[in-house]
Amino acid sequence: MTVAAGIGYVLLALGPSLSLFVAVISKKPFLILTLLSSTLVWLISLIVLSGVWRAFLPLETTAWWPYGILILTSVVFQEGIRVVFWRVYKRLEDMLDAFADRVAKPRLFLTDKMQIALAGGLGHGLAHAVFFCISLLTPAFGPATYYVEKCSQIPFFLVSAIIALAFVTIHTFSMVIAFNGYAEKNRLDQLFVPIVHLVAGMMTLINLATGGCIVGIPLLYFMAMLTLLYCGQMVWKRLTENQSRH
């Protein structure tokens, strides 16, 4: 993989996040801090998971179900982390509001809350892309590239960048959905997020079959689009409601 290809893959995986970062996050220091802490939380969850699974790896079998269990536990654990993250955020929101009162500034707007959720989600997505895609990419600069046996049509790095992009999208916007669901106590939103995450994770199991990535990746992108649309529709609804209330 040459340097040009490497940069291309990085931009493929992180380009949308980068523009989101520049456009929304980078102007507000608090959002950057949220992003960093959420990235750290995701990293910690990954370390804990790998600590648990370290004893069983590498999986020798060719059967798919151990991987299924792995993904199931990982997703369940990470969704648990998301609830914790929400609790912490809730506290923080109260503190922020109290602080805003003290300095005679307006409290958090609805858009502010959504931006915080977006930054949190982007942190998760960023951590995913960095650890699953970029960190494998960067040591591999050189004249050759790498193909996986099961997906021999496309270079491995390209596939992982494409998958990472889908997951970045899912992570980013499902955090917005989840926070909104928790705030509104909307059962549907609360359930939507783990289900999407789990389904998307399970879809990567298709890649275990030979040539499975041809099928798996479009399905994954379907989930990403679903998340995006759902999030967009939900945000639109909230904003118009909010507007009409004033």
Binding site: K27, F30, L46, V103, I116, V130, F131, I134, L208
Partner: protein
């Protein structure tokens, strides 16, 4: 969209510190990963104050390495302590001018020789076509501007910040040539030393900082100032959420002693002593507010390190002059919280909890050792770099918040370094096999 939102004002100062640290770490990682790959074998024989006792070789057993590394770290910390006390003594007897000039001199040498050799390595590595005269003139100008910008007041703050980061990068890049075990033990030892020197009664940095604040004087040290480069109205300081307005400044003092003893053969001895005490706290004149609103919650944190980097550079450059340059550099990052009102800038109408802050200052020592950790991690793999970066940055954030909460002198190194080391080993031992195993099967979640 939400112009008045408090999201924009909270955390400005933290970001103001984090971004230069990030830049410094990024550049060190780039430098290390671009330079170390081809020349990783050649730079192994460097002897510095950090490995005076024991030179690590890959063939040694683990216990040997551990013992040697511990001894190295012990000696190193002892040297630092001695130099720090010397510095405190000098400061106590008001040799301020001497200290300043000493620091100028050492900044000159750090930029000129250590920086020069790094530039040389870069030029060689990327085979940049440049003749020696041009290179020398450029280097000389770079160095002179650096010396001027670090210590005088008339220089744009951006330039000064840039040179601070450059100094950090250069020193950190030198440190990464230490052997692996020594580096890790040394980092932990320095973190512990930092803790003691700042917090323990009678710790040298504590004395230094108290002395400086009782004299209302500048600290004789090199610090990075995160003052806003553009004047912006800073109502409601960002830390104020937790802090009620505290600015932290830390200063670092960099002292470089270079001596050359001929270990190889020839009879050239030069003894160069570089001491560098940069004071970059210019804004800290006593607050102009006269009424009771002036509030000074000054807690200072300082830490000081000294390092002896002695490289046999003549071995590299010309073979028959054997010389060793020992660069002893001592830095004291001092984090000092001075929260007070800038009465001139702000109308008197503030609510009680908010105090204008002058911006956070971070010691150059913190820059260097954060970057050393990340640079060392970069020699293994980049996954560890990302993990260490996150750990260090969050440690820094924790330190800042703690500082704001305790209003008390806190060392900036321990939390970050300990987190960084822990994350490095966790990532290396646990996470990497897991992530590589799953993602080469194209499984992600």
């Amino acid at each position: 969209m939400d112009g008045g939102s408090i999201l924009e004002s909270i955390g400005v100062e933290i970001i103001g510190v984090m971004s230069p640290v990030s830049i410094c770490m990024l550049l060190v990682v780039l430098l290390v990963s671009s330079l170390s790959s081809p020349s990783s074998i050649t730079s192994s024989s460097i002897r510095t104050a950090a490995n005076l006792v024991y030179l690590e070789t890959p063939s040694d057993s683990t216990t040997q390495k551990l013992q040697g590394a511990l001894l190295n770290a012990l000696v190193f910390v002892l040297i630092i302590t001695a130099v720090t006390f010397l510095l405190v003594l000098l400061y106590y007897y008001k040799f301020t001018n001497f200290l300043k000039n000493y620091m100028r001199f050492s900044a000159f040498f750090v930029l000129g020789t250590m920086g020069g050799s790094i530039f040389l390595a870069l030029i060689q590595h990327f085979s940049i076509p440049i003749d020696s005269i041009t290179c020398f003139i450029l280097l000389f100008n770079f160095t002179i501007v650096g010396v001027l910008s670090v210590f005088s007041n008339g220089v744009p703050i951006l330039l000064r910040q840039g040179y601070m980061v450059a100094l950090g990068i250069i020193v950190a890049a030198w440190f990464t040539s230490l052997p692996e075990w020594t580096t890790w033990v040394l980092l932990v030892a320095l973190a512990l030393y930092d803790l003691v020197a700042v917090l323990a009664p009678g710790g040298p940095l504590k004395i230094l900082v108290e002395l400086a604040s009782s004299r209302e004087d500048e600290l004789p040290a090199l610090v990075y100032e995160a003052r806003p480069t553009v004047s912006r109205n800073r109502e409601g300081s960002s830390l104020g959420l937790l802090v009620g307005g505290v600015s932290e400044s830390s200063s670092v003092e960099l002292q470089v002693v270079a001596r050359e003893n001929d270990t190889v053969g020839d009879s050239e001895h030069r003894v160069i002593q570089i001491g560098e005490d940069g004071i970059s706290r210019e804004g800290e004149t006593s607050p102009t507010v006269n009424n009771g609103r002036e509030r000074r919650s000054s807690s200072t944190e300082s830490s000081e390190y000294s390092v002896d980097v002695s490289g046999d550079r003549n071995r590299q450059h010309n073979s028959h002059v054997g010389s060793e340059i020992a660069v002893d550099e001592e830095r004291a990052p001092l984090v000092e919280m001075l929260g007070y009102r800038e009465g001139t800038e702000r109308g008197g109408s503030e609510t009680s909890g908010v105090i204008a802050t002058r911006g956070i200052k971070l010691g150059l020592g913190d820059f260097v050792f954060y970057s050393v950790l990340v640079g060392r991690a970069a020699m293994y793999d980049l996954m560890t770099v990302y993990a260490c970066y996150l750990a260090i940055i969050s440690g820094l954030g924790c330190t800042l918040i703690l500082l704001a909460v305790c209003r008390h002198a806190l060392p900036a190194l321990p939390i970050s370094i300990i987190l960084g080391v822990v994350f490095y080993f966790l990532t290396r031992l646990l996470m990497e096999p897991f992530v590589v195993g799953t993602s080469t099967n194209l499984m992600m979640f």
